[in-house]
């Protein structure tokens, strides 16, 4: 049997004397889209912090494709809440940033990124500055920068949180399409129950701080999924169940 892309067992994190995560168990199989839903300040971003190396855990076993986290190179590609595109780099130079930091020469990094411009709808914009892009394009650029790093695990921290409602639902549809095509292993943090259901294979509901998994829900709607899914009564039932879990948690 193959190793899960991500496995977290019995994770404890304390920040400034405050227990933020206690006994967290979570996993993601290769090619799986997993979402984490939870109340604000429930330790979702802290869990990502452990995976990116920003936060150190008290204890727990964290493995990415079977290998322990600590030491060594970063093996996750992280997308922060805001796009965090560097305003002084052109779009193309923003896209190659992760590869460059990980040691690829700029010219080689560009060759890797170029074929992705078209599917990400950024062709013709590679020499613009981020300030010249729309909100949706910036988010697509940020996602491209994330996947271009070619890591076994993508961590998306509320990627669409700052977008207006219309752009947001367009981006959700777009991400669904892209995921169908590339089948990345994704862990997504979101506040949006419908977003989690629409995109995920599985959804974890976190308890209020200290975080542990309060509920785990398998979402087995067939793919490709479209906006029509929102009208499915089973979707509404799951949404109601998740909302209930969230308020109870």
């Amino acid at each position: 049997m193959t190793q899960p892309a991500l496995s977290i067992k019995d994770l404890d994190v304390t920040l400034g004397g405050l227990p933020v995560v206690r006994g967290l168990d979570l996993h993601a199989r290769a090619g799986e889209f997993v979402s984490i839903l939870g109340p604000s300040g429930s330790g979702k971003s802290t869990t990502f912090g452990v995976l990116t190396g920003e936060v150190s855990a008290d204890r727990g076993d964290v493995r990415i494709t079977g290998d322990a986290l600590h030491g060594g190179r970063s093996r996750v590609a992280y997308m922060p809440q805001r796009d965090a595109l560097l305003p002084w780099r052109t779009v193309l130079n923003n896209l190659t940033l992760g590869l460059e930091v990980r040691g690829t020469k700029r010219a080689a990094a560009r060759e890797k990124v170029r074929p992705l411009l078209e599917p990400f709808g950024l062709e013709g914009f590679e020499n613009r500055y981020p300030a010249q892009l729309s909100g949706g394009m910036r988010q697509r650029a940020a996602l491209l920068r994330t996947v271009a790093q070619e890591q076994p695990l993508l961590l998306l921290d509320e990627p669409f949180g700052a977008l207006d409602a219309l752009t947001r639902s367009q981006m959700q549809g777009w991400l669904e399409n892209m995921w169908e095509k590339y089948r990345w292993t994704v862990v997504l943090i979101t506040h949006d129950v419908r977003e989690a259901l629409f995109l995920s294979d599985r959804v974890y509901v976190f308890s209020p701080r200290p975080a542990r998994v309060a509920a785990e829900i398998v979402v087995d709607f067939p793919r490709p999924r479209t906006q029509a899914l929102f009208a499915d009564p089973r979707f509404a039932a799951l949404e109601a169940e998740l909302l209930q879990q969230l308020t109870r948690a």
Binding site: R73, A84, Q132
Partner: protein, 256 residues
């Protein structure tokens, strides 16, 4: 380019003030020796242009060298402060105290110590400016987006990489703002140092003109000083436009 709506009102105001001055000085004023008309200032300044220009170069040179050194020293201090908490605690209070020393008393002393050449002028300019250039860099480094820093860390970037890729570029617009403040102070402190004692320069020229009761030439030198400052100011915008084209885009995006 700035729009006419931005440029025109101050120009009209300046023209109006000059006209009032001209009429006052030519009619009921205290006389040309005490308060010359602007037209006389322009005329006499032009007549003495060779001398005026010869004294402008030393001031300009001291200003530019002083500015460059202020930026270099400020950058050095700011990097130190940014990288080390101990340096921050040690350096910042000393910087603040350095700004409480009275320049009026210090300038003649610096001349006594280092003579009448370029060096004491430059030293004084650096002394006046390195505080503001240091602070503008420090503030600029701090303005770096925490998300961008976290992003680079997640890619496995070390401290130096984060500094070079995120913190330093973030600081550049702040640095340009600091540079503009430094420009105005630099010209003024160069003139001041020359007033306290120097071989040549606009300050020396002003003092000489004053001592020979040539108020028109004093004012002509004042005009040259102001022009010098404005030219350096305009130059700083030009440099920013060329070196940081993205900064204008970001600002325009925030304004819209």
């Amino acid at each position: 380019m700035p729009r006419p709506g931005v440029v025109l009102p101050p120009l009209v105001l300046v023209a109006l003030l000059l006209a009032i001055w001209e009429i006052y000085a030519a009619t009921i004023g205290p006389g040309a020796d005490v308060l010359p008309t602007p037209s006389r200032v322009a005329q006499q300044g032009w007549a003495d242009r060779e001398n005026l220009l010869a004294n402008t170069w030393p001031t300009l040179r001291a200003t530019v060298i002083g500015l460059a050194l202020s930026v270099a020293v400020g950058f050095g201090f700011a990097v130190l402060v940014d990288l080390s908490g101990l340096a921050r605690r040690a350096v910042l209070p000393v910087l603040v105290v350095s700004q409480t020393l009275p320049l009026v008393a210090l300038a003649p002393l610096v001349i006594v110590w280092f003579g009448f050449g370029q060096f004491p002028k430059i030293l004084l300019i650096v002394f006046v400016n390195f505080f503001s250039t240091t602070l503008s860099f420090v503030e600029g480094f701090r303005s770096a987006d925490p998300d961008s820093v976290a992003l680079l860390r997640s890619m496995g970037a070390g401290r130096w990489r984060v500094f070079r890729t995120v913190r330093l570029p973030s600081a550049l617009p702040y640095f340009m703002a600091g540079l503009r403040i430094a420009i105005t102070y630099s010209v003024v402190s160069a003139i001041f140092a020359e007033y306290a004692g120097a071989e040549a320069g606009l300050g020396v020229y002003m003092q000489f003109a004053k001592n020979t009761f040539r108020t028109d030439l004093v004012l002509a030198a004042v005009f040259v000083t102001a022009s010098l400052t404005l030219i350096l100011f305009a130059l700083s915008y030009l440099i920013e436009r060329i070196a940081l084209p993205w900064a204008f885009l970001v600002r325009a995006g925030e304004a819209s």
